[in-house]
Symmetry: C2
Subunit: 310 residues, 2 copies
């Protein structure tokens, strides 16, 4: 009986895989470094296939036990036709019909989507967003992305590129961004920018975000203030989203979310100060629950919805 | 046979009514000034009822010919239960079960929604947005509002207050706004602000927006620059919306849209400069087509969708 799904979360530095039972528990996991294989598309695809088959075999299962495979990839994905439009951080991917390629190799129904969309589906069905009709899940890391559940459905946008929260302008004038624009949200809260800022504040070039979290926990005022400043930027961006979309919930994941307890109050206060009364009173901002497992669990949601033809 | 719908667009200064045939043509219209009646809720409701009945009678029709009545009101409306939450610019309205009140008086199925939502439905089905799956319709007037069609459906938000585009922050710091926030989009492009700006630019306290449109048409550089500056603010706000929602179309209505031909190029150029490539290439920004009729026609969309239980 087809009871299991495989979730694959393809990142720039590694690939996380998980075998998930029908109740939504990850029964087997694997991590694969992409460093050696991501220079060639063929090698990357082969490595993914081998890892998937190994994962299935390790649990003494076969293709017939697998309802489907779900892959999340870091870029805009035509999830309907199963085509990778392109991957900004992995060269050699442009209009690749990955769904068909994998299905031919593996003989298992395969579905692909943007990585943040899968994380969003995971948090929605298994994590912080359970039962929520209108929510956004944002990931704060090197990049800043978001997935949207609107009217109880994943909203992908006209060309599958919705959720580019990191490139929503936070100011009319502002620092230049990789995307070609300027004043983008990511230019205020992306990891690279935060570390630059931190090296100035703490006069230390080696300081990392977990260090600043620990310092804040120890009561270091510079560290506390550092997170507060970050939280104001986040709150300013979210105030706009809240006014535009009147969401019930905003889930924050990614590396920066590990310092959520130093961000929480200021994010809420900023939203309350800047957004309209009705939507501000209604929205909750919470920390993601599933961490690294979100994408693998979200893949199950994608597989189930796709197989049932939703 | 129930072939007609009645649309009612309740504004702060007047109420527009229209009788619409089943093909979507307005066969009879009326306008009612709200000035004398909007001080008392009862008087306003009575005036609306009398006007609706008069409109039906004038075409020698009866209640049995009317499929339903749709009303748009300027505020957050619980369209599901038919309750007016409140109307910011008309006192005395708080949690009013208007749908039931009108149905009891008129014996015709009645549905209510936010006025900009009805305008959006009108432009979507009969105007500039026909066939569009993902679009936003914004109205630029004294206030700035927006309605969203996402995944082929009107998106109302968790508490029926989605689309508060006028209060999306355009800058982290910025001028104080009526809403209690600051730096809101409306504080840069709302009519009041534009007129203040214009009185400085043209050193004339009486100048109106249509005057600046005419001056631009005559080649007046100050007027052309005035609209360009306005268009940059609009483009900056829309760049964020485009990155977040990856829309196919943005429709601009309201008074300011009359100068669309002096805004058009700069709005597009600003979006192209600031938004990501994929969503920027995909979105079109156009002028609304239906002007004052949008809400009345949108009311028909609401009535038909509500009657058919969508």
């Amino acid at each position: 009986m087809k009871q299991y799904t495989v979730g694959v979360d393809v990142g720039g530095t590694n690939i996380k895989l998980g075998l998930v039972n029908r109740f939504g528990t990850i029964v087997e996991k694997a991590v694969l470094s992409t460093r050696h294989v991501n220079k060639s598309r063929k090698r990357l695809i082969d490595a993914i296939c081998i890892s998937i088959l190994k994962l299935i075999k390790e649990k003494r299962l076969a293709a017939k036990d697998i309802l489907g495979i779900g892959l999340g990839l870091p870029g805009p994905i035509d999830s309907k036709r199963g085509i990778v439009s392109f991957l900004p951080n992995i060269p050699g991917w442009k209009n690749v019909p990955l769904k068909n390629i994998l299905q031919k190799k593996l003989h298992i129904p395969t579905f692909i989507d943007n990585d943040v969309n899968l994380i969003t589906l995971g948090e929605w069905k298994f994590g912080a967003g359970q039962g929520c009709r209108n929510m956004m899940c944002m990931t704060l890391g090197t990049g800043v992305g978001a997935g949207l559940i609107l009217n109880n459905d994943l909203y992908r946008g006209e060309g599958f590129s919705a959720g580019e929260l990191g490139h929503v302008p936070l100011n009319e004038d502002g620092p230049a961004c990789n995307c070609g624009g300027w004043g983008c949200f990511e230019r205020y809260v992306g990891n690279t920018v935060l570390l630059q800022e931190a090296s100035k504040v703490f006069r230390n070039k080696d300081i990392q975000l977990p260090d600043i979290y620990r310092l804040a926990k120890q009561g270091d005022q510079r560290a506390i203030r550092f997170w507060e400043k970050t939280a104001i930027h986040i709150g300013n961006a979210l105030a706009g989203v809240v006014n535009l979309l009147n969401l019930r919930l905003i889930v924050i994941g990614g590396g920066v979310s590990k310092s959520f307890k130093f961000l929480d109050k200021t994010i809420h206060a900023t939203i309350k100060a800047r957004a309209m009364k009705v939507p501000a009173a209604m929205v909750k901002v919470v920390r993601a629950k599933l961490d690294d497992d979100a994408g693998i669990l979200g893949a199950q949601v994608l597989v189930k919805e796709s197989v049932s033809g939703r």
